[in-house]
Amino acid sequence: MRTVIAAFVAAGVLLAQPGATGKDWPHYGGLYSAWRYSALDQINRSNVRSLRPVWAFQTGDYDGGLQATPIVVDGVVYLSTAHNWVFALDGATGRELWQYRYPLPKDITTIYGPWNRGVAVGLGKVFMGTLDNHVVAIDQKTGRELWRVNVEDARQCGCNITGAPLLVKDKVIVGVTGGDSAHRGYLNAFDANTGRHVWRFWTIPGPGEPGHETWPGDSWKYGGGATWMTGSYDPELNLVYWAVGNPAADFYGEDRRGDNLYTNSVVALDADTGKLKWYHQQIPHDVWDFDTAYECVLLDLPVDGKMRKLLLNVNKSGYTFVVDRTNAEFISAWPLVKHINWVQGIGKKGELIGRNEPEVGKPKFLCPSIGGGRSWNQGAWSPRTGWFYSTGLEWCQEVTAVKEDPVEGQPFFGGTFEWRHPPGEQAHSHLGAYDPLTGKRFWSYRYNYMLLASVLATAGDLVFTGDPEGHFFALDARTGEKLWSFQTGSGHRGSAVTYEIGGRQYIATPSGFGSALAGALGQLWPEMENFRKGSTLFVFALPEGD
């Protein structure tokens, strides 16, 4: 399949697809197709060594790190922080235009936070989900709050919102956490102008609905199925694609024998009604906490010589799945990492071969760890090279399943785990360039801790990401050679973007280490406990006149 893609790349056919950002960075994943690729090429392989900081913005909200994707519209950068503060900044100077601080209740406690991964901007408004499970709309010009709605009482559901909303036409679509709690997941759409609820898709079907039979007894009421990251949208098909996370209890599956639909599935929903059009389940009856929660990259590629509308999704298990996004037909699945032993492999129809499940009361060595063959931070796809760029994490764990009964809204893991180095080597990570259909790797950049920031690809044939030690760096998209690096002072857990103002290209990256995973890395590397927190947006450009 590779040679065929290469031929299409050479002919420039892939560049005609509408997935590249230009002056703005309007959505979480760049455009609706979530490529995280920009057509801007002022900064490129030949001049990136001259890249220098032009401004930095300190948010002051450093606990939990800075995990957001900044959104850029008409030269204004919209940035959200861990405790739901939002800033509007002049993209050229860093001058603060307004700030909004969501009034979080003082006594809030959540296992999913504090962190926030971004806002949605459009219709004159900025939309954000909150740590206490509200959706809020802010005036894009003034920062004044327009409406706020409590999706469900966070004290009861144990759930909240940390992902960026997706604005589709006049609806703001918002997911929810709670996949590791006794909670029944959902995806909600609200009227962007009034905040009124429009539709809800339950990720676990109720009595009488197809799929309900995959949940015995009352297990459907507490089965997780969170929608904690951000989906994609295909305007031509009018379908919203969202990846649904793991079932609960994570490691103990005896009380939920069955496929547990629609957990660990990509679902395609009618954007206007929220009705299910199709689903593709990657891991039936997951007992490893291997969420199908990450980005849905929409790309059209030749499969056996014929152009197909595809959807690529990296699963936490270390496998990447590609399906036809018009009808859920399985195309391929390929490993992103070396250390995988939870299955022996994946068959030609996408079926799991040789499941290796956790056992009750007995530690089992499993790879990758529940931190994932990759974390939630996104990969990027470049139509110039035809390659998908993603980080990968090589690590394992010992899991012990424990029988656990659900208590509504309380954590519901059904087991414990301890991270371990993989057999024969130290845990480490890499950023690689892959054929999106076959997983053939063209180059790989190795790093001795875990790479936990998103990837940005540009038409300058550069890929950018950052590491936990604070370096933000650029690699040659064609060779993986490191061309430039800058120490930002705190680790990277967010997503870099690029934009243009007045003919000048800017690269912006959040810096500020934190998150559930980041805090636990001390299990493998004791020195990482002392890695510094932070919450700063760094912005780079070439010197003026270049």
């Binding site: 606990d63 003082k106 006594d107 809030i108 406690t109 959540t110 296992i111 999913y112 936070g113 504090p114 004044r144 709050e145 327009l146 409406w147 706020r148 709605v149 409590n150 999706v151 469900e152 009482d153 004290r155 009861q156 559901c157 590791d180 909670h183 029944r184 009034t194 905040g195 009124r196 609820h197 809800r200 109720g206 009421k221 994570d250 906490d289 529940i370 424990v402 656990e404 509504e408 309380q410 954590p411 893991f413 414990t416 785990f417 301890e418 998150s515 559930a516 995973l517 980041a518 805090g519 636990a520 001390g522 299990q523 406990e529």
Partner: protein, 248 residues
Amino acid sequence: MLWLLFLLAQASGAQDEVAVGERIFAKSCAIGYCHGSGGAAGRAPRIQGRSFTPEYLLKVTREGIPGTAMPGWQGRLSEEEIRAVVAYMLSISASGRAAVVASGSSTTPAPVVVTPPDAKAGRELFFDAVRGTRCGTCHALEDRGVPVGPNLAASPPRSVGAIRNPPLGEVRTARLAGGDEFPALLVEEKDGWVKLYDLTVPPPVLRTLRASELELSPGSRWRHADAIASYTDQELELVLAYLRWLAR
């Protein structure tokens, strides 16, 4: 000799307590996002090998740390269980097992309140998550739910009929300059801005509108019976029993 036996007995009692605490810790504190297996650190701080006083651990375990992910466990764990978890944490801390014995294990059991069965069933219905809209969508009780509507424990409705059709004096009709009209509950009027709940569809939306673009008039077409249509009379009898029990 007797004195030595007493010490040994106390130490072995403490060992049992540590074992109980270890089981609770594994299930409630070690899990994915929190303190990690054996307190080896997760997103939350490491417990293993650090120094703590028993008083600090007791306070934080009972009350939590506001503004962080650390919840208070009082009410979720019994006092004995909290003390057992603290004993376990001391045993894996820098102070080690000696601190467990020194901290003693006297307990003051909290008074136990038993909810009668019909009130318990009513509480479950009030907060029934399976329904998209339930009583708790607009009313808060016992630190759960959303406090938009009146506090029902203060003066419980007299009958199922009164639950279906309570007096709605506070609900008004809002008209926007653009023509949109909706049932509204006024929250605040200040400096030319109005905060109100839009009750068009549940859950209620707290909207901030310019007073000059808004007209509020008494009464509305909104009916409480529509909002709670998913409840049968039988179910509302149980909800009523719950509210009466709370107001006892």
